[in-house]
Symmetry: C2
Subunit: 281 residues, 2 copies
């Protein structure tokens, strides 16, 4: 697999880069962004935080708006920021913003027309990390985070792969997609009508069944316009309480669903991950 460098610029004390590559899993060309602290240009290998973005985003939203590079450079963490769906003229799409391109939901689709390309779960769990770990000076110490649909992706991917991620966090995640309009629409389209199959991609269900105890941090703005109808953090909280799972869920007055919220608390999230990623037993 070959990577093509699209752009590279200095950002804080490191390099902000974009690459394209052919994805076999998604059967299309994909782009991702990566931030490499300048210390990562030496021989040591650094841990990686994967960031999964929300509906309509590409690899650029988090890269340009969160300001995460400042702390990532200071802490010595590589940031990998993938796209949110397969891309290209041959990839099926839908006219709505919450299905198709920009809305892959980090699942493996089983339904026509989506199944030919929409295998974002396998792309993120297998193909992309292999590529990153073969190419860049990174270790196999991984953390994962994301926003909204990407928060759902981070939580479900971490919960489904015990031992693969050291810590997980999310901003304003879709916590219970089986029980909200965004999730019902996407899961029905990508997975079909059998709701027992949806459970495999629902953080609230997965957490209630989990035996691993991952460090989880979730931040939620109280002025978030999607809080009540779509995000449902209290469903996840109830599942965690029932299971005795030590979930750290923090509400913040006045913050909405935007990147202004992420920019404000990304330092806290990076320090949270660093506590686990950089701790060597």
């Amino acid at each position: 697999m070959t990577l093509e460098l699209v752009s590279k610029t200095q950002c804080f004390d490191g390099s902000q880069c974009q690459y394209t590559h052919r994805s076999e899993v998604l059967d299309c060309e994909m782009r991702f962004s990566i931030f490499l602290p300048s210390q990562a240009e030496k021989e040591q290998r650094f841990p990686v935080l994967y960031w999964l973005s929300g509906l309509t985003c590409t690899d650029e939203n988090f890269s340009q708006k969160a300001g995460a590079q400042r702390m990532a450079a200071e802490l010595g963490i590589v940031l990998v920021i993938p796209d949110t769906s397969p891309r290209g003229d041959s990839v099926p799409d839908n006219e709505s913003y919450d299905l198709g391109k920009g809305a892959g939901y980090y699942v493996n689709a089983t339904q026509t027309p989506w199944k030919s390309h929409y295998q974002m779960y396998d792309y993120l769990v297998k193909e992309l990390p292999e590529l990153v770990e073969d190419t860049f000076p990174v270790s196999d110490r991984r953390a994962i985070s994301g926003h909204s649909m990407g928060g759902h992706g981070a939580l479900t991917i971490a919960l489904k792969n015990p031992g693969r991620y050291i810590s997980v966090s999310a901003f304003s995640p879709i916590c219970n997609p089986m029980a909200c309009p965004w999730g019902e629409k996407a899961l029905a389209a990508y997975l079909g009508p059998d709701k027992t199959l949806w459970e495999e991609y629902d953080a609230t269900v997965l957490l209630s069944r989990s035996t691993e105890r991952l460090p989880i941090l979730i931040s939620q703005g109280e002025a978030d316009q999607f809080l009540e109808e779509q995000l449902k953090p209290n469903a996840l909280k109830a599942a965690a309480e029932a299971a005795g799972y030590p979930l750290k869920l923090e509400f913040h007055a006045g913050y909405d669903h935007s990147y202004y919220f992420i920019a404000t608390f990304i330092e806290q999230h990076l320090r949270f991950h660093a506590d686990y990623l950089l701790h060597i037993d």
Copy 2:
């Protein structure tokens, strides 16, 4: 003059807001963004940094990408981020990105069809500050900064108004617009062919004639794709040296013309302005 609140959200320790208002000077409705540190909600009055953006930008680019709110909240500085040109269906435009809407160049146009609306200099020096100072808990202690075309705007506006601004800074400014393609095109269109009139909006010319000694900080990326052809910081440096003007001009290896550069050094610029804005004799 009445302001209409478009949006308001918490960002770091303060409020990020957008307002619209009718501009008499520009004869159209204008939008601007303002960041108010939470401390500014008390009775004290806080200094203001005006930020002028570059070609194609609105009030949102700096607001979303620079991460300036973190330090502004900490230092107690209000940020005012205007648009880069008059807006609306009745405002003349040009098909190119570097003339017309999004490219007001912070001048008072004298030529048809521009002169009816393109009076950005008066808007920024008079109308907008009056509105801001009448409405928000701000003092008359002002600083000004900007990027590229906005760096040109910040430098020229500060140099043309002795005593009005306490400090000025710029990222990657167009330092000598009379002698670069961007500036030649815009100044000819807005001001006509008489180049002696262009001198009133050329930072290199204005600095060489200035008697005031303002604190000026300029940051320039060495990997900036526009450095040689358009920006010409060394022309400004030569003028400063000839005039004995204490210009602080810093070059940074590896940084390009993007907001990644601004995000990296905005803390330094805000601390530079704070040294003067918050210093009470």
